[in-house]
């Protein structure tokens, strides 16, 4: 989903930067607030950032006949909120743009918007909706990770379709969807399983942190059962 350096006209670069910056700013403020109030959250935040760092570096072959990379943005979004991932994505994408020519500085706004805004927000929405519908933690995080990853690629396809509506936006969008989103489906499934494994491991090691973040329900103290006298 990394749009390469110079592969968006300058006005689209400005547009996506303008859209991404408020989310990044909110994420930085939220991250500072979380770590100031709960310094013990720092390692969990680092785990989420490292997970994105690893996932976005892996080029995975897809059964569709091409290859792509997972994003890892669902886990952190569910834990800390979507905008924190917007902020975390910035140094990762700058690192890849400068050291590997993967993505770019001019296209950073567009790449942050797809990987750090659209994907994470969709993941959080699916997590909340899934939990409301009564899904278990593992099933909900699986779906959140899948949607977070896949929607990142849908967003990238839309960004390119908008910038190059040749001959029309619809046809360009379908073309981009076939390149990005179709390849991504099996990779998203693999990433979702890995996210479940990591989630369950954190749940086992530090359930206290997840409870404080309201990811896990806090255990309610058992109320003494009082037998009501039967009405005659």
């Amino acid at each position: 989903m990394h749009i390469m350096e110079g592969f968006l006209p300058w006005y689209w670069c400005v547009f996506w930067y303008a859209l991404a910056i408020p989310f990044i700013a909110h994420g930085v403020v939220r991250m500072k607030k979380i770590t100031a109030e709960n310094p013990e959250m720092k390692p969990l935040l680092a785990v989420c950032g490292a997970f994105i760092f690893i996932m976005s570096s892996l080029h995975v072959p897809s059964v569709t006949g091409s290859s792509s990379h997972p994003t890892g943005n669902g886990l952190g979004a569910v834990f800390f909120g979507a905008t924190v991932i917007s902020a975390i994505c910035v140094p990762i994408l700058i690192f890849q743009a400068l050291l590997m020519a993967h993505g770019g500085i001019t296209t950073l706004g567009a790449n942050v918007f797809s990987m750090g805004v659209v994907g994470p927000f969709c993941a959080v929405f699916v997590w909340k909706f899934g939990r409301k519908m009564g899904l278990g933690y593992s099933a909900a995080i699986f779906l959140a990770a899948f949607v977070g990853d896949w929607m990142t690629y849908v967003a990238a396809a839309t960004e390119l379709g908008l910038a190059f509506p040749i001959p029309t936006f619809e046809s360009a969008w379908i073309k981009m969807m076939l390149i990005y989103s179709y390849t991504q489906i099996p990779i998203s499934i693999a990433e979702s399983f890995l996210t479940v494994i990591i989630f369950e491991y954190i749940q086992k090691l530090r359930p206290d942190l997840l409870r404080r973040l309201n990811v896990l329900k806090t255990e309610e103290p058992k109320k003494p059962s009082i037998k009501m006298p039967e009405a005659n």
């Binding site: 110079g6 760092f53 690893i54 400068l98 590997m100 981009m176």
Partner: protein
């Protein structure tokens, strides 16, 4: 102990990643989706207005840098998980001593 469910999930991940490598050589040699997108854009006659400041000189170096990135991330995750694991063990030991 790793649960049976986790083992099944790991096997599914390996299956999803390894299947194309075993049966579809196309998946390995074909350009990635990150390369196919720009190729289509270039075919429309678009000329990129900026170029990367630096590009890895060959694919081996590029792969090495990606591996370094993954190793760095894995190092952080491994360190924190190890720390949490040790803390949990210490807590258990202290609880047992108190009993």
């Amino acid at each position: 102990m790793v649960s049976r469910r986790t083992v099944i999930m790991i096997l599914i991940i390996i299956g999803l990643v390894a299947f194309p490598l075993l049966f579809e050589s196309k998946a390995v040699s074909a350009p990635s989706s990150d390369d196919q997108g720009p190729a289509w854009i270039l075919s429309t006659g678009y000329i990129p207005w900026v170029h990367p400041l630096w590009e890895p000189p060959n694919s081996d170096m590029e792969a090495g840098l990606f591996a370094l990135q993954a190793a760095f991330g894995a190092g952080i995750m491994g360190y924190i998980f190890g720390m949490w694991h040790a803390q949990a063990r210490m807590r258990k030991k202290e609880e047992n001593k108190e009993k």
